[in-house]
């Protein structure tokens, strides 16, 4: 009997409601009102759960809703941000911001998979699980707190740190190359001190400390060396912006 129980036990770490609530607060900046919504947002269909009235319960429906809400918020952001952009431009930019790759990066950076309840080992999921969980989280925040609060969360945690219109337009290909170019022009010595720093994470992580003329300008952490260096370069780029 114990063996059967072991086989059917969820393969992911079990989190209490308090732990999930605290994690959601850290990620979104908002204390959950209805924790059940967030539980659903992290439940994979392999768990075979049902709602009170017997319908399958997983994050997929919330993912559908979150995708639509995210689309509306990002549409308004670009609409306001680029008053000169025509419909074609706005459509193209929105697709870039809510691209699968971008959403996966977001979900991964927020470490959402740690909270997934699943019977399938998380390493068996493809990269899209990260983006799907992120969209489901947006759906849960929307139902829990309404459009205006959800929009604020998306702007604060997604748009400001992740969205860069110039880069998306292709005007800036890589912040690292921009930064190196600037250092060479101004005869500055730069150093990317990059090292593995997985900590308690399941997924391998890298940290980087970027120094210019021996002064630490920025730090960053990501799931690949390239990503961590690009993130640190972007932070340095904005920190040094007036000098560029």
């Amino acid at each position: 009997m114990n063996r059967i129980r072991k086989i059917f036990k969820s393969r992911s770490t079990v989190h209490t409601n308090e732990e999930l609530s605290s994690a959601i607060k850290n990620i979104t900046g908002l204390k959950p009102k209805d924790i059940c919504l967030y539980e659903t947002a992290f439940t994979h269909k392999s768990m075979g759960l049902k709602t009170d009235v017997g319908f399958p319960q997983s994050y997929e429906r919330l993912e559908f809703l979150g995708d639509a809400i995210l689309g509306a918020v990002i549409a308004e952001y670009i609409f306001n941000e680029v008053p000169s952009g025509d419909e074609g431009y706005l459509t193209k930019m929105r697709s870039k911001i809510v691209s699968r790759e971008h959403l996966n990066e977001l979900g991964q950076d927020f470490g959402l998979i740690k909270y997934a309840k699943t019977q399938v080992p998380t390493r068996n999921f493809g990269a899209n699980i990260h983006g799907n969980l992120f969209e489901a989280l947006v759906g849960a925040v929307y139902l829990d707190r309404g459009y205006v609060t959800c929009k604020k969360f998306i702007c604060k945690k997604v748009v400001v740190p992740y969205v860069d219109i110039e880069k998306l337009e292709g005007k800036v290909i890589s912040y690292k190359s921009l930064l190196i170019e600037w250092c060479q022009k101004h005869k500055k010595k730069f150093d990317y001190n990059t090292y593995e720093d997985s900590g308690a994470d399941d997924v391998k992580h890298f940290s980087v400390k970027l120094t210019i003329d021996k002064k630490v300008i920025s730090k960053a952490r990501a799931t690949s060396k390239k990503k961590a260096e690009e993130k640190a370069s972007k932070r340095a780029y904005f920190a040094l912006q007036d000098k560029f």
Copy 2:
């Protein structure tokens, strides 16, 4: 000079701000706060207008925004309406509701083209102008009144009168055939009294009075006989629902 002026005069009827404001109130049930938004929502790019800072001004940007807001509102509607529907079902149903054909029907029924400011004769536009103007109107309502009010407008004026999940699912092909079937089964005499009723509208309209056993059960008005009869049948279907 007069001749030149005549050539360049807008080809559409000129409406004053008050007339436009009153029309918007009739269509949306909401009194505009910022009429400029609605002016833009009805301005075709052929007018060559510019914003204060010199960017092209037409309904196209609002159409982009309205499309996204409509998508979010309809997503939430289906999410709530069909708790058993999985992600695939929800996606399919949303596509049906916000299909080009459906949006064009909405724009046409609201008679939006009457308010379009354009240098191109409106008869030269394809059918999509109706849906595009409708989406632009949604964008204007959203910017003018916020998400919650815009959602109410969409639910009241679009979802309740136009969206029928069962019909979209293909379970109901035509309310007229359902109704006729019911009348034959119950040996009732029905009559569709359909007549042209364009009134002050530019577009031809038809009205229908549906009687069952000489009692008027429902009335409807639309831009084709078929549409008006289907609308009246749907109303009758819901009025007689417990008898079906």
